[in-house]
């Protein structure tokens, strides 16, 4: 009698709490845990992805294959140890069937081991370094990769009389990725990269680097900075009068981010960038998406991060449909492989071999369209693979 | 044979910018000495003590402790070589208790200061020695109170206890009774008088009554220089000292 008493009071209570009760209700509700930087320097990324994801659910209802989808948003403040802890809690306590979000590369990389150990699919809706997906069999990406967005820019530059280029990138994963991709593609096409400059990721002061670029007098200056830093970079580019001294300003779409483009001033007009999404993309799906997004987010213009969130949810819904609601992680990842659909950005698919995103990449020019600055696309490179 | 010289200064000078606080002082303190150092305010008495105890480094001249040239030794090294002192303004550990203060001093003396595994008080012989010292100084009643909250007189006694806990060969007492109310001065006088014979003592004091009762020899410091030295009788009757320092007051020896 005495022994049973002890067992009841200490052991059982703890265990029941942890596993028994919550397992029962998993059948009806499928939880999706999004880990986003809602605060800190990349807060704009978190805000855009959340808006994209919620818009998809608003348009496609919150039930798929008989299962009710519940979205849980967690703020990791852009700190990798927080993302990992939140991922563990989402998996262990909330029993999520999907993880998603990951505003920056380090945040995604820290969650890799958790997804692998817990066998839960993790949809990358932002982070752009090419090596991330390979780091865990449960990663699937619906955003973009830097080489994917950078290579077309190099091809266009070589084809349009640009012989020498200086690159200036932020000194972290995606930055180095885009620097390497640009240099490889551009030099393959006969161009010459004079110097690869790197500015610190946190609290960057671009003045000295821009001055150095100006002194090297290249035909063009290639720029990459994370979403959120484009405005202050372009202000200093204007202030240094690089364009006036005959240097063409090129870069990836991260610099002319739709979220900030309008506030950057007319000095930006004429800048050429390459990216996988522009709010001015000419397609019926995009027109509907932008209109709905503006209405739902009091005129905040959607940027490439928002479609990462929007298409991330699309992939989750389609995977659940394929597995008819079965939330087994491995089956879900298998179901995602090879998915293809038309997104507001254009046709896209999940590469079955690498689980990375294959999509069109567009070359665009900054133009003023009825009073607002947009990246107007004028060339398309179809079905660029995410990573090989 | 003449008693061993424990502490000696040769041509000691200390200048602060333009001011000469110690002016070529040559001085020696034999074993068992009961020596008083007197002089008007600003005569450089405390500076001289600070030079002897290593708190200040001399501009020139040398200091010898028990024959060894300690001129450039740190205060810490001199303390280990057997030179202890009290301070004119109490310099104690406010957060510790008297028993802890003495335990610490004894531990440092015995080289046990850096033992970090056994708790304070494991060495019961240290504890007994500390308790005996407190009893000797008559402050056993406040053994476990916070030093910061002790009465000023008790703190002055604790200063002497700490100096004694270092088992010094030479003890420099810097105005031990300064600021102590009248009725408690007697207690300090008795303690100073009862100090062990083999310790050489220098006492800085303004209270002439105490000086003449305690000292076997006296030095008079004026403007940093050694004005005159001698037995209490010689000093009391020396017209120059009277004129410079004692003023017209009649002194009963």
């Amino acid at each position: 009698m005495f022994r049973r008493q002890i067992l009841k009071s200490i052991g059982v209570a703890g265990l029941a709490l942890a596993t028994g009760v919550s397992a029962a209700c998993a059948q009806e509700v499928v939880k999706v845990g999004l880990i986003l930087p809602m605060t800190g320097p990349s807060a704009s990324t978190g805000r855009q992805i959340e808006a994209g994801a919620r818009l998809w659910m608003a348009q496609n209802g919150s039930t798929v294959a008989g299962k009710k989808i519940e979205l849980i948003i967690k703020d990791d403040t852009g700190a990798a140890d927080q993302s990992k802890r939140l991922a563990t809690e989402l998996v262990v306590n909330d029993k999520v069937a999907f993880l998603g979000g990951f505003g920056l590369t380090p945040l995604a990389l820290s969650v890799g081991p958790v997804a692998t150990q817990a066998k839960v699919p993790a949809v990358i809706m932002a982070a752009g370094t090419s090596t991330i997906v390979a780091s865990s069999p449960y990663f699937v990406r619906t955003s973009f990769t830097l080489p994917q967005n950078t290579a077309p820019m190099a091809q266009w530059s070589a084809a349009n009389g640009i012989k020498t280029v200086v690159t200036l990138v932020s000194d972290y994963g995606p930055g180095l990725d885009s620097e390497k991709a640009f240099k490889a593609e551009f030099e393959a096409k006969g161009g010459k990269v004079l110097e690869s400059l790197r500015a610190p990721l946190m609290n960057p002061e671009f003045a000295a680097f821009l001055q150095k670029a100006k002194d090297l007098k290249p035909d063009a200056l290639f720029l990459f900075v994370p979403s959120g830093q484009g405005a202050s970079l372009m202000k200093q580019v204007g202030e240094r009068e690089l364009a006036k001294s005959g240097i063409k300003i090129i870069g990836t779409g991260d610099v002319t981010d739709d979220d900030q483009l309008n506030g950057m001033g007319d000095a930006l007009i004429g800048m050429i960038t390459s990216h996988n999404y522009s709010a001015a993309h000419d397609s019926p799906e995009n027109k509907a998406y932008v209109a709905a997004f503006l209405k739902a987010n009091n005129n905040m213009r959607p940027n490439f991060m928002s479609v990462g969130g929007f298409d991330g949810m699309a992939a989750i819904y389609k995977a659940l449909e394929k597995t008819k609601g079965d939330t087994d992680g491995t089956k879900l990842v298998e179901a995602m492989k090879g998915l293809a659909w038309v997104s507001p950005r254009g046709p896209m698919s999940i590469d079955p071999a690498t689980r990375d995103v294959t999509q069109n990449v567009y070359v665009r020019e900054v133009k003023k369209v009825d009073g607002q600055l947009y990246n107007v696309e004028f060339a398309t490179i179809a079905n660029v693979k995410g990573s090989n | 044979m003449s008693p061993r010289i424990l502490l000696e200064s040769r041509d000691l000078v200390k200048r602060f910018g333009g001011i000469t606080a110690t002016d070529h002082v040559t001085f020696s303190l034999p074993e068992g000495a009961r020596h008083a150092l007197i002089g008007p305010n600003g005569a450089g008495k405390t500076t001289f003590i600070n030079l002897l105890s290593g708190v200040l480094t001399p501009t020139s001249g040398e200091i010898f402790l028990d024959g060894a040239n300690v001129t450039h030794w740190s205060a810490r090294k001199r303390a280990h070589a057997g030179l202890a002192r009290t301070f004119q303004i109490n310099q104690l550990f406010a957060d510790l208790t008297p028993i802890e203060t003495l335990m610490l001093t004894i531990a440092e003396r015995e080289g046990e200061g850096s033992s970090w595994w056994r708790p304070v008080g494991a060495r019961t012989d240290f504890v007994d020695e500390a308790v005996a010292l407190l009893a000797q100084l008559g402050i056993s009643d406040i053994a476990h109170a916070r030093v910061g909250q002790l009465a000023y007189g008790k703190q002055r006694l604790l200063e002497i206890a700490v100096a004694l806990a270092q088992k010094p060969k030479v003890l420099l007492l810097d105005e031990p009774a300064a600021g102590v109310p009248e009725h408690e001065r007697e207690q300090i006088l008795d303690v100073v008088a009862a100090l062990p014979k083999d310790v050489a003592l220098i006492l800085i004091e303004h209270d002439m009554h105490l000086v003449f009762r305690f000292a076997k020899s006296i030095s008079v410091l004026v403007n940093g220089g050694l004005f005159v030295e001698g037995t209490p009788d010689e000093i009391a009757n020396d017209p120059r000292v009277r004129q410079v320092y004692l003023g017209e007051e009649e002194v009963h020896v």
Binding site: A18, D81, R85 | A79, G113, S114, S115, G121, H144
Partner: protein, 342 residues
Amino acid sequence: MSNITSPSPEAMRARAVLLGRSRWGVAEIIFWILAVACYWLFPTKLSLLSEIAILGLVALSVDLVLGYAGIVTLGQGAFFGIGAYAAGLAAKFGMGTSLWSDPVIGLFIGGGVAAVIGFATSFLVLRGSDMTRLMVTLGVALIVDEVVNQMKWLTGGSDGLQGVLPSAVLGIWEFDLFGRVAFVYSLVVLFVLFVIARALVKSPFGLSLQAIKGNMLRTRAIGMPVNARLVAVYTVAAFYAGVAGALAAQTTQFASPDYVAFHRSADAMLMLVFGGAGHLYGGLLGSIIFRTMQDVLGNITPQYWQFWLGVTLVALVLFVRGGILGLLDNMLAAWRRKGGAS
């Protein structure tokens, strides 16, 4: 000194009081029982509890330097980060298989590297006033931060250290997802280091630290090698912070420049002062309250938890002398005076 054969009543009482200083009090034992009980009380919050244990260890290392020896430091976060990277790299190159990546070995590597750097920089802290010590320790922390960011080939720069794969603790307990092993492991390491710190603080060495903090002039007059003691305690504290960093790297299987950031040192000092510096438990208490408050407030208003942190800090300095334990001490003393007990 006449040799007293049978110890006098005062001597007996003095021995009792002095030995009483280091006897484990009831409150202490309850504290640790509760800490262990957390394993069952909060099964879903184990990773948070491990983080609290680790932050407690960093606050304890600041307590040794600030609470006991009186050295103001804004640089303990640097040693935390160094420990994290050293242990992380050991786990990474050990690839989860070889001896190198055994967590306990990792602790000594993390602590050891931090202690070496602590020893090297301890001489900078010996001279100067609070202000210079504050800025020197801050300067050292910034240099470490800069080095971590620049040595990308080793530390992974801003992306952080990838591929940290600690093997099972002592080859037996694999780090599980639920954070059970991580919590027990962190708590055991914290307890072991706490016991050592407690002995150290109650020993003549600890007493000499309090003396140095109390009156530097007198410590030199009684022949204490002050600089040697400060170097020793600064190095030990660096070891403690390094081990905490190693624990963090192993339990989160990650290390990033955020581990060497300024806020790590500021938070550690805040937790300590909040709990009460110079009470040994101040750091532990402070980390529990600080981290739980951050977690609770963080969920309500993620951005503005820092606002409430700032308000508590200002209120703490203006109204509370000596943190919570200081408050308890004063209340206890007041109660004892009123009650006319001893």
